[in-house]
């Protein structure tokens, strides 16, 4: 058990949520309670005056939203800001506005009451939908309703907060999150929301911690809590920490700062082992803004850019022009470093957009299978990538390959796209994910077929050990140090070397400092992880010898059990005098 869990087990002044953005914050918070706009029906004496007040409220709301829209475009990019454009359109909806005006005239009632009644009708309808996407739109309409009501009562929402505090809320809307970012907010915590919510994305862009989806958060904050700790690595929120907890986190923050400043000094030093073997450290990112964080952490390129996040956030497939701009932007900003862009990896647990239910989604229509059965969509993405590829630094990565035919078929589609675009010179590299056991054994046939390989450990562990790690009953079997799994990794490395194919490893195992000596010993030389993990990875690489790692790997491969491998790894760290603040990844 982790040190922190042992410490927390002794008390109950904490809760756990989804660790949505890494970092540690200790300090004060601002509890953001969206003021329930209270309507007290006023008697209307002058209908014209009532109409004027309604019209003014609409105009003011539009003005506010246009400012938020501009700020959002700057912070999150045009596509993600589109949501605000739609909100502005709602404020211009002729049918809704006319209905409200007609009722004010006819019924001679307070505009606030009529606005609330009219909008509530729509909110109820959307909330009734089974579709999460439409349900969420109810919040957007509620947000607009409240904005109009507040403007009718001429109140201001306080989006100005004290500088340098964390913001807590039941649910932070896109507009809230964007507005708080102006006050040097130091962390976000919410009761609702997850990894793809606006708060998570913005927190990662701002490099501040976020713990979301933490149930009963507000109740706990209301119990006279003055100070909190946010642990964005593990998802803990601690209320009024005791001296030991504070000391623990101060210490961790201190170590982290030291590691970071140590790395700041090492940033431009090559990550090589003591015996001079170069290991390349790359970053996994979801948002172009994270490039800066990747760079600051010393990443030598982008090892994985996940494009399905665009769909997850906006709830739709981006059009080709948008995609071309996005891909071009990232290859341009990364140049001369390489960027590996993975095509839409949908299905499995990422099925939100699709109404189809599969009994066994992880063995179903996901990754490349989904794309090959939606060829027009796939070709749109391929064309966008090809158009964005002229800097010669783009790697295209295919997810979930399980059979040779999938590579063949994809290459045929790429060829068609190249012909359509009149491209004759290939300026990209094509690679596949190795995340299905059958792909590991396909490698010997791929020497002339693809340019590189990338191991996705999360899925490969699931498929090799037949464990769904989201299933609490069996999650304990999800073991990256399972010796059988290590043998799979070894076979992949050997096969890749035999076929002369460059091999990288992305996935959480690559960011686990304890796994690094093993991975190096098994033959891995390119590791890709979330930017914040890179400092620790580099520190470990700089303190080991490949020859020692190889001995460790050999011993581990001969082990019978996961426990035996763990013991070997712990011993390795002690013997080589390497300490790792292991709770922070």
């Amino acid at each position: 058990m982790k040190e922190i869990e042992l410490l927390l087990n002794e008390s109950d002044n904490w809760i756990k949520g989804i660790p949505a953005a890494p970092g540690i914050f200790t300090g004060k918070f601002h509890l953001f309670v969206k003021e329930e706009v209270h309507i007290e029906e006023q008697e209307i004496t002058d209908v014209e005056e009532a109409l004027r007040s309604f019209n003014d409220a609409i105009e003011r709301s539009k003005y506010e939203l246009s400012k938020i829209f501009a700020l959002a475009k700057e912070k999150m990019g045009e596509k993600r800001a589109e949501i605000f454009e739609a909100q502005i359109m709602i404020l211009e909806d002729p049918i809704v506005l006319d209905e409200i005006r007609t009722r004010i005239r006819k019924e001679r009632r307070d505009p606030a009451v009529i606005v609330a009644e009219e909008f509530d009708k729509f909110i109820v309808m959307l909330k009734r939908s089974d579709d999460i996407y439409f349900k969420e739109r109810a919040f957007d309409i509620e947000d607009i309703k409240n904005r109009i009501l507040r403007n009718i009562s001429r109140k201001r929402w306080v989006s100005r907060i004290e500088n340098d505090v964390a913001v807590a809320g039941v649910n932070l809307t896109a507009a809230d999150t964007i507005l708080f970012s102006r006050c040097n907010v130091r962390g976000y915590i919410t009761e609702e929301g997850g990894l793809t919510s606006h708060a998570a994305i913005i927190a990662r862009s701002l490099n501040i911690p976020a713990v979301l989806g933490a149930h009963s958060l507000i109740e706990r904050l209301n119990e006279d809590c003055c100070e909190i700790i946010i642990d964005g690595y593990n998802g803990f929120i601690i209320f009024d920490p005791d001296s030991r907890q504070k000391q623990f986190y101060d210490n961790k923050a201190h170590i982290l700062e030291k590691v970071n400043s140590e790395l700041a000094g090492l940033k431009d030093i090559s990550s090589s082992t003591i015996d001079g073997v170069k290991i390349s450290l790359l970053a996994n990112i979801d948002v172009t803004d994270e490039l800066l964080i990747a760079e600051a952490n010393g990443a030598e390129g982008i090892g994985l850019y996940r494009t399905e996040q665009i769909i997850e956030e906006t709830g739709e497939f981006p059009d080709e022009n948008f995609q071309t701009r996005l891909y071009f932007d990232i290859t341009e900003k990364s140049y001369p470093k390489n960027v590996t862009i993975r095509v839409f990896d949908l299905g499995g647990d990422k099925t939100r957009l699709f109404h189809k239910t599969e009994y066994n989604p992880f063995l179903g229509l996901r990754g490349i299978r989904f794309l090959l059965s939606n060829k027009e969509l796939f070709k749109g993405q391929i064309r966008s990538l090809l158009k964005a590829s002229f800097n010669n630094n783009l790697n295209i990565l295919l997810p979930m390959i399980s059979a040779f035919e999938e590579i063949e078929e994809t290459k045929q589609l790429i060829k068609e796209c190249e012909e359509e675009l009149g491209l004759t010179h290939r300026k990209y590299k094509l690679g596949i994910m190795i995340e299905v056991p059958s792909a590991a054994d396909l490698i010997p046939c791929l020497g002339d077929e693809v340019d590189f390989l990338s191991v996705g450990t999360n899925d490969l562990i699931q498929y090799s050990l037949a464990v769904d790690r989201a299933n609490d009953e069996v999650a304990y079997l999800y073991q990256e140090f399972n010796p059988s799994f290590l043998r799979v990794l070894k076979r992949i490395a050997d096969n890749a070397a035999e076929a002369s194919l460059p091999l990288s490893l992305c996935g959480e195992m690559g960011a686990d400092p304890r796994a690094i000596p093993l991975l190096l010993g098994l033959g891995y030389r390119f590791l890709s992880a979330s930017p914040s993990g890179i400092p620790l990875m580099k520190k470990i690489i700089l303190s080991v010898k490949i020859s020692d790692c190889e001995i460790l790997a050999q011993d581990a491969l001969a082990c019978k059990s996961t426990a035996a491998v763990e013991t070997l790894v712990d011993k390795f760290f002690i013997d080589h005098g390497i300490t790792i603040p292991k709770d922070f990844v």
Binding site: E82, I83, E85, A86, M89, I90, D93, P94, I95, V96, F122, M125, L126, S129, D131, Y133, F134, R137, I141, G315, E316, F317, D319, L353, F354, H355, N374, E376, L377
Partner: protein, 88 residues
């Protein structure tokens, strides 16, 4: 007056962007425009109305146009919906 039945083909259904595309397009014409889905009928020039249709992929919509420019309006709106709003 023209009536026309169409089916939503784009995968994500009538979410915010297609809804705003329909409304923006409808706003260019004078004719009245209504959309019905499963018995719920809304004015096609209202973004809130179109959003609350909650029409997923495969949904069948009845479109009604009436006014001087109904024919050309019907053609443009139909091709938008049947073309999947360029999202196919």
């Amino acid at each position: 007056m023209i009536e026309k039945t169409v089916r939503i083909v784009n995968r994500a259904g009538l979410h915010v962007r297609p809804a705003s595309t329909i409304v923006k397009t409808a706003g260019k014409y004078d004719a009245d425009f209504y959309i019905s889905h499963e018995g719920y009928r809304i004015n096609g020039k209202s973004i809130v109305g179109v959003m609350t249709l909650i029409a997923p992929q495969g949904a069948e919509l009845l479109l009604e146009f009436s006014g001087k420019d109904e024919e050309i309006m019907c053609r443009e709106i139909t091709s938008l919906i049947e073309g999947g709003f360029g999202e196919l």
